[in-house]
Symmetry: C2
Subunit: 301 residues, 2 copies
């Protein structure tokens, strides 16, 4: 089934203990599309300025990524992010953020995308996520990400969004913040009460937890990696593989969601092994399937 992602396209400068990657391609929609494209065609919705040095058609060559929804604004500049990861690679500092085109009017959903069935709304203001979602005719499974600043300052909009989506994909601290509860399972249940039928919590190297409104639960550790060069895009790669797998299967039952999370975990573990998109562009579906089986073996008893 069709899969749409709305999110950012970025020019990133990333510094980690393993090196610096200057002015490389990044952004939630880019990581998501690259990860999802291993499983399913993807429709990308995003905006760049005329300064963008990357030819996205070339970046996604040989991958089924539809760029009908890529808008290039001649008078605008592309979103830029500069960040530094500390020694443990878990915490990062934003050194510079230039919203540029992201501070302007959002893109609208092209007519050809309106029949999308699987929709991922990458992190942005909840009001904009809602506005984009409302342009889709009949989504089958809509998922969204969010972040601490929207929980702090746009909570009403976020709650309205939660009433409209099927699945929230969110990190551990944000879960606790949104539910105002420390216990992770209790927080997840509190979020399910607001609206979505599934909540998926990203715990970084400690894996993920999924709960649904029927009381089903799934917990999966992170893949034990020894190579971590650049964690940027891990969460969006996780979401991309997850949604790509669901769209490919055209199913959203709990068993399929569990497998989707395992694929998300595997693809994210490849994404962080190198800078920018190199961790994803250097692998193929066989590598993913092989690590998926390794993950199953690593976790079964």
């Amino acid at each position: 089934m069709s899969l749409l992602v709305t999110g950012s396209i970025a020019i990133d400068t990333v510094k980690t203990p393993y090196g610096v990657s200057e002015n490389c391609l990044g952004g939630s929609a880019v990581y998501f599309s690259m990860a999802a494209s291993f499983f399913s065609p993807v429709r990308l919705l995003g905006v760049i300025g005329s300064d963008c040095p990357f030819d996205l058609a070339e970046v996604f060559a040989d991958r089924s990524v539809d760029l009908t929804g890529l808008e290039v604004r001649k008078q605008s500049k592309t979103f830029r992010w500069k960040g530094t990861y500390n020694d443990n690679m878990n915490d990062r500092r934003t050194d510079c953020l230039e919203l540029n085109v992201l501070a302007e009017a959002p893109p609208s959903v092209p007519a050809a995308y309106k029949d999308s069935k699987f929709v991922f709304l990458a992190n942005t203001t909840p009001a904009l996520q809602l506005e984009l979602l409302e342009q889709i005719d009949e989504p089958v499974f809509a998922a969204a990400d969010t972040m601490n600043c929207w929980i702090e300052s746009h909570l009403d909009d976020l709650k309205r969004l939660l009433g409209k989506i099927d699945c929230l994909i969110i990190n551990e601290e944000e879960t606790r913040m949104l539910a105002a509860e420390h216990n992770l399972i209790k927080s997840t249940e509190a979020i399910l009460d607001i609206g979505p039928s599934v909540v998926i919590i990203k715990k970084g190297e400690s894996g993920s937890v999924m709960c649904n409104v029927d009381g089903e639960r799934f917990i999966l550790p992170g893949f034990p990696v020894t190579e971590v060069k650049d964690p940027t895009g891990a969460g969006d790669s996780f979401a991309g593989a997850l949604m790509g797998y669901l769209a490919q299967r055209a199913r959203t039952d709990f068993g399929s969601l569990k497998q989707a999370i395992a694929y998300g975990t595997v693809v994210a573990s490849f994404a962080i092994a190198d800078f920018s998109l190199a961790g994803l562009t250097s692998i193929n579906k066989t590598d993913i399937d092989s690590r998926f089986e390794t993950l199953r073996k690593l976790t079964s008893f």
Copy 2:
């Protein structure tokens, strides 16, 4: 096969956001024995003073815990610990520590214990752990715990101990500290190079990781609990169930170790649900087996 534990017997006062438990029974050997006794007979080696208000024979009534190695020193006082857990229940502060009898000469291993095959050396100075281990004739599987202060100030002794034991059971931060390496898998491999054939890393609510010298790995998330009243003794309960299961099976192959870790995870999740030993004394083997199957279902995909 016979299972011996050497460790502390404590009078604890524990404060958590859920209440206060004053002068309750605690200590590594006590939590370990209680947890292990669901699976296997246990031989306890430890010392108390004449002030100890607990009758351990009564505490372990109807459980196969051999107290031949319990020494009561008339002129001494029992080890006491007072601690407070913060709101997230992950961090704790020691308010008061009275080593008392633990600062005196250690107990010696009774003749009847010398043929023990499975041995757990709970946290104490590595030199004492070594001294106790050397009194066992022919251990089949010796495991030990340690802590940050011995890594910092008794590293040579600790390395000698690592050369003598089969398995180190250690927490995440201590693993990184001991190996001087942030990546958890690389740190574990560095510790395997020092001596033990198996390293098991306790990650608290994020579960555990096991690696062995043959390159086999196992990762298991924590059991998703909603009730956490007192995390004291979680690590020793984990080790107790793990070693108890291995002693019962009389096996230490990787498959048995995986199941042992799953039992450790389950028993620890019961231990933290109530103050002192109440989380363990209120359950039976059927509760443990049932949660073991739930854990398997929760983690399989």
